[in-house]
Amino acid sequence: MKQQSKLSARQQEEQTAELRAAKAAGRQFDSVEELIRYDAGQTLVPPGIAQRLRQSISQSESPPRGWWRRLLD
């Protein structure tokens, strides 16, 4: 049991060390979530999606009133 917790602690240390070693653009990350969150923050939504949505809505029979106009602003 004690051996198992030692093993688990060692694995955790290795995991943390691997992530800390994962330098990207001069940054270090302490958790997988932080790494993914950073990547998400760097990811831009292609502007073409809003345009396509506006077109799709305008082609539908009864588009919801008004909301899509904000996409044009």
Partner: protein
């Protein structure tokens, strides 16, 4: 534990859909991008998810937050896309094929580094079981709680915690090999 989402967005009206898109499109696009692993598919999926949301707006009762409602549509949509793809193709082992991919080298340094990070994350996520991939993407959204992730993935909070523990370990081990 991630904080509980704000309750202010429980009553979404059609007129507010522009705000809904502005607020949630990045999260939905990112989920689709990293889950599907293809920018064009992610763009199509994001368009389709919001179009479905617009058409089903009357079904949104405010029992969930707008974020979780959109995630549910996105997860179902991405699952369907992947299932359709799997039905048409023989799936190659990601373990054997994915390591041959190398980052591009035609961009300025900062962009190269950012692209490299995204590339490594994508390689790592692709090598994980789909369930682990999804759980890691969802838990990285600070607007979602473990309970909401459990509801989105049809399992208990304890099951989410246990699987996330294993998913984090698997991610770290694979990510280290992408250097």
């Amino acid at each position: 534990m991630p904080p509980e989402p704000p309750s202010a967005e429980h009553h979404v009206l059609p007129e507010e859909f522009g705000d809904l898109y502005d607020r949630h499109s990045r999260a939905i696009y990112y989920l689709a991008l990293r889950y599907l692993g293809d920018p064009q598919k992610a763009e199509d999926a994001t368009h389709d998810v919001f179009l479905k949301a617009i058409r089903r707006l009357d079904q949104f009762r405010g029992e969930a937050t707008a974020r979780t409602w959109l995630y549910r549509i996105a997860i179902n949509h991405c699952h369907n896309l992947q299932q359709a793809w799997h039905d048409r193709h023989v799936v190659a082992s990601s373990d054997s094929a994915i390591w041959e991919i190398t980052p591009g080298d035609d961009s300025p340094l900062r962009i190269l580094e950012t692209k490299e990070l995204g590339h490594r994350i994508q390689i790592t996520l692709d090598a994980l079981p789909a369930e682990y991939r999804l759980l890691l993407l969802l838990i990285s959204d600070q607007e979602l709680s473990y309970g909401q992730i459990g509801a989105l993935t049809d399992q208990s909070t304890d099951a989410v915690r246990g699987k996330l523990h294993r998913a984090r370990k698997a991610f770290a081990a694979i990510f280290a090999k992408t250097e």
